[in-house]
């Protein structure tokens, strides 16, 4: 424990209290941990599955005081080991590590792919009710869409009761043409000022929301002038996707931040395995400004493998 007790470097055992199946390959594990619960959006923890592996996980929001969560897609050995943890079983957690999003005010665009949505969900909880938030989420197919309802709920919860506006059923948005009708931005109930926010879903195969990738409709969303220019864009997901988003944002002169993923071992900036150009991702990041990233020759192109050899994405 150091820095006023806000960071725990020793992996402390916690019990998983609840497991939610998000999709056939994605689960959310909820637990109680005051330190993790008060982490900032974009921070991560090193999560150890006893007897298996330790891996970096973005800290997910969870309802209930002192609670936090991890949302994991089973993919490699380590993530599958975590995915297979059941309610009542123990994992050990250290952190939180890394910096956090610079949460601006105004009109914000959040773009996530897969479990890259995790830090963006926590980010939503740090926005103001009068911020106008568009959440753009991509998945391979309808079965793999998750956090769409949660995203709507979080948008609504910014001011008590209210209903999310899920824009994934086709209608006027089923084609590649992006309709920027201002009406989409208003929802909410009662006499309170209308809450402003929306959730847009894309799937590669078109089984849900708009067909294609988030980057296919990004230009249309950013170009849309109905709601005014975006004040900031935040993204987390596959690096090639983030590279395109950062480029689009900078072309439009919009502040953008992306969360990088690299091979991590220590999480505290000593082992060097997460180096990307001059950046030590676990400590300087994982969140970086777009302008900084575009000057980093490795962003969008290479990462280092377990032995430290630069490898193409």
């Amino acid at each position: 424990m150091r820095r006023d007790g806000r960071i725990r470097d020793y992996p402390e055992a916690i019990t998983v209290e609840e497991v939610i199946d998000e999709t056939p390959t994605v689960r959310t594990l909820i637990f109680s941990d005051d330190i993790m619960s008060s982490s900032m959006p974009g921070q991560f923890a090193m999560v150890w599955v006893p007897g298996a592996f330790e891996l970096p996980m973005s800290i997910m929001t969870a309802t209930g005081r002192g609670r936090a969560a991890f949302t994991v897609r089973r993919h490699g050995d380590a993530s599958t080991a975590l995915y297979n943890i059941r309610r009542g079983e123990s994992i050990a957690v250290r952190g939180p590590y890394g910096n956090s999003f610079d949460v601006r005010r105004g009109r914000l665009l959040l773009v996530g792919g897969g479990t890259g949505l995790v830090p963006l969900m926590r980010l939503v909880t740090h926005t103001n009710p009068d911020d106008d938030i568009t959440i753009l989420m991509g998945a391979r197919t309808a079965d793999e869409v998750f956090f769409d309802e949660l995203a709507s709920d979080l948008l609504s919860a910014r001011r008590g009761a209210g209903s999310g506006n899920r824009d994934d059923q086709g209608s006027s948005h089923s084609t590649g043409d992006y309709n920027c009708g201002a009406g989409d931005y208003n929802y909410g109930t009662g006499s309170e000022a209308p809450l402003r926010g929306r959730v847009i879903v894309t799937t590669d195969d078109g089984t849900r929301g708009k067909k294609g990738r988030v980057t296919d409709i990004l230009d249309a969303i950013v170009d849309c002038s109905a709601g005014g220019k975006f004040d900031a864009i935040y993204t987390c997901g596959p690096e090639v996707m983030m590279y395109k988003i950062v480029q689009t944002a900078s072309r439009h002169g919009i502040f953008v931040q992306a969360s990088l993923e690299r091979m991590m071992k220590c999480g505290v900036g000593i082992c060097g395995s997460c180096a990307a150009g001059p950046d030590i991702v676990c400590k300087d990041g994982t969140i970086f400004d777009g302008r900084h990233l575009l000057a980093n020759p490795e962003f969008g192109f290479t990462y280092r493998d377990k032995s430290g050899i630069p490898t193409s994405w």
Binding site: M1, A13, A92, A276, P278, S307
Partner: protein, 295 residues
């Protein structure tokens, strides 16, 4: 040996990207020691590989992951500005010769032979514990490097007397000694009832080992007199650094402290040493090396 300052980045810490080296150098690092490089790339151990301990120490068994001597030489070949000390790890004299040849066209200010890593079989401490092998490897490394760069030997606390290792290294022609490496240790989690590191055993570093490292530097300086020493082990601030210099170190290396502070720690320690020297009326750093040895 060219050093741009007395505070050097220790091996195993951040030593993987030339751009990061540049940043550390700008922050005041007098030189950087690379991760220990092996003949071919190593992936290291599975996580958990590094954890913090409640006593302020750090425990690691990264397993010497590194891209291999050839890949690393290719990466640092363009460098001329940053003093880079290349750390090498291996089991035989031939391996060390092979690796040093790979750095033929690189500006290397020194080689540091890792004879003290406490958690990988057949290398590190297992070599350091065999004085005859130490002498042979150091001799071969000196021959391979020729006049191009001095050879340092990094020692640690193994199962034999580390002073015998130092003696063997000097016999073999070592130009300087780095002391000490991490100390073989482990952590067991009471709740989960198992070792935390995937390798079970690792190396302890950080503040808890400082008094031990300081003792070793003092002992080496008093036993071997004029051999230059790089002091290493739990140095977190300028005062720690000064203590190592007073014990007999000509320069110091820092590592674990970077887990708690930003890279500007190099500059802060430099400034602290300078202010200390001004306060004590010491003109040159070398004038205080080993000063605590006097009776």
């Amino acid at each position: 040996m060219r050093l741009d300052g007395p505070v050097v980045l220790a091996s195993g810490i951040l030593g993987i990207s030339l751009d990061v080296f540049r940043r550390l150098h700008r922050s005041g690092a007098g030189a950087v020691v690379t991760k220990s490089l092996s003949k071919s790339p190593w992936t290291g151990y599975a996580n958990p590989t590094v954890i913090g301990l409640d006593n302020g120490g750090w425990l690691n068994a990264v397993g010497l992951s590194n891209p291999g001597a050839q890949n690393f030489a290719d990466m640092i070949r363009p460098n001329r500005e940053i003093p880079i000390i290349v750390s090498l790890v291996g089991s035989t004299a031939a391996e060390f010769e092979y690796m040093i040849d790979k750095f033929d066209e690189c500006a290397v200010v020194a080689y540091e032979l890792n004879m003290s890593c406490p958690h990988v079989a057949k290398v590190g401490l297992e070599v350091g514990d065999d004085p005859a092998l130490v002498r042979e490897i150091v001799g071969a490394a000196k021959q391979a490097s020729g006049d191009s760069a001095p050879v340092l030997v990094k020692v640690g606390l193994g199962s034999s007397n580390y002073l015998d290792t130092v003696g063997a290294a000097i016999d073999g022609g070592a130009d300087a000694i780095t002391a000490i490496n991490t100390i073989r240790s482990m952590a067991i989690d009471a709740e989960l009832q198992r070792p935390v590191l995937s390798n079970r055993f690792g190396g302890l570093s950080g503040a808890p080992i400082k008094p031990i490292a300081l003792r070793c530097v003092y002992e080496i300086a008093s036993r071997f007199g004029d051999i230059p020493i790089m002091g290493c082990g739990g140095i977190s601030n300028w005062k720690d650094a000064v203590e190592f210099i007073l014990a007999g170190a000509s320069a110091v290396q820092i590592g674990s402290v970077l887990g708690e502070e930003d890279v500007d720690i190099f500059g802060r320690i430099n400034t602290g040493i300078t202010e200390y020297m001004e306060r004590k009326g010491i003109d040159r750093l070398q004038d205080m090396v080993g000063h605590a040895q006097r009776r």
